[in-house]
Amino acid sequence: MNDKAQLHTMEGLLAAILMTMTVLMITQSTAIVTPQNELAIDVQLEQIGSDTLKVIDIAPQTSIIRNNLTECVASWDTTTEASYPTNNLEILDNSISNLMPEILYNVNFAYTRNGNLTVKKVIIHGQPADNAVVVRHYVTLTNETVKTMGGGWNLADDEIKVVEVRMTTWKV
């Protein structure tokens, strides 16, 4: 029986195991990149949502978006809340759906009333998914804007109302 080069054979075996372990270790460590990619998608969604609200806010009346965000908020009837599938601010819903096709969203308005925070549902398109992202944009209402748009905010002439437009966006 030839028993030469047994040490070489063992060395080769150990080297193979070592290299396999190294490759496995590197492969497993690259898995840490995955949540980063997910985070990047979240950031992309946040950017799209944020841009949408900004674009609506600065839209001139001559554009396809007839009313800017402040006017849309001013025209809202504060006494009723949205309940799925009925939304109660169609002009805002149309503008957002034009700018964000294939993305689902819910919109709430948050504002202070007698020093307390009030949050009302305005547009509902369903239950947000796990990867939902919330974006916010602020508008300031005066009585003049509300009267022009026929909303139900009941502001005094010397009063301002800061409204947070809170939009939850998600992809299915």
């Binding site: 040490l7 080297a15 990149v33 925070l117």
Partner: protein
């Protein structure tokens, strides 16, 4: 096996195998560290609340225009001067913003430092030219301060 114990040849080969394996382990550890470091640094950039800070800044700027024109409107029906009315409205705005930001775990402080007029009077709608505002934002991990934020009120 007994013959292997006595065989002392090929020690350089065995040693170079060991050195190579150690180098491989070192490289793998380095690659792993680089990935983790890359993840943490990019994560920090992605989590930075730039939109919230930008929104605070830009809305305060936009709001200054609204408050200016409203101050002159109110001035027509009250005895208060335009700067006094502007200050009252700004305080009201600041309180509302603080409440709204606090609702999502962030603290902001927006305080009016001074109202400036180029000609020193507040008789018509073009007289408030620049306001100085102190802005502070804190969400627990990011602290942003702009003191003062100089806002040119052009409209």
């Amino acid at each position: 096996m007994e013959s292997l114990k006595k065989d002392t040849r090929g020690q350089w080969i065995a040693l170079s195998g060991l050195v190579l394996s150690l180098i491989l382990i070192g490289l793998a550890a380095l690659a792993n560290q680089a990935l983790i470091a890359g993840y943490h640094s990019s994560n920090a950039v992605l989590e930075f609340p730039k939109e919230n800070i930008r929104e605070l800044n830009s809305h305060t700027r936009d709001n200054a225009e609204i408050l200016k024109s409203l101050s002159f409107e109110i001035n027509n029906s009250t005895n208060n001067t335009v700067p006094v009315i502007f200050e009252q409205l700004f305080d009201n705005y600041s309180t509302q913003m603080e409440t709204l930001y606090a609702a999502h775990g962030e603290t902001v402080d927006i305080s009016l430092v001074s109202i400036n007029s180029n000609n020193g009077t507040y008789n018509n709608n073009s007289d408030i030219d620049v306001i100085f505002v102190n802005l502070t934002y804190n969400d627990g991990s990011t602290h942003y301060v702009s003191e003062p934020e100089v806002i040119r009120v052009t409209k």
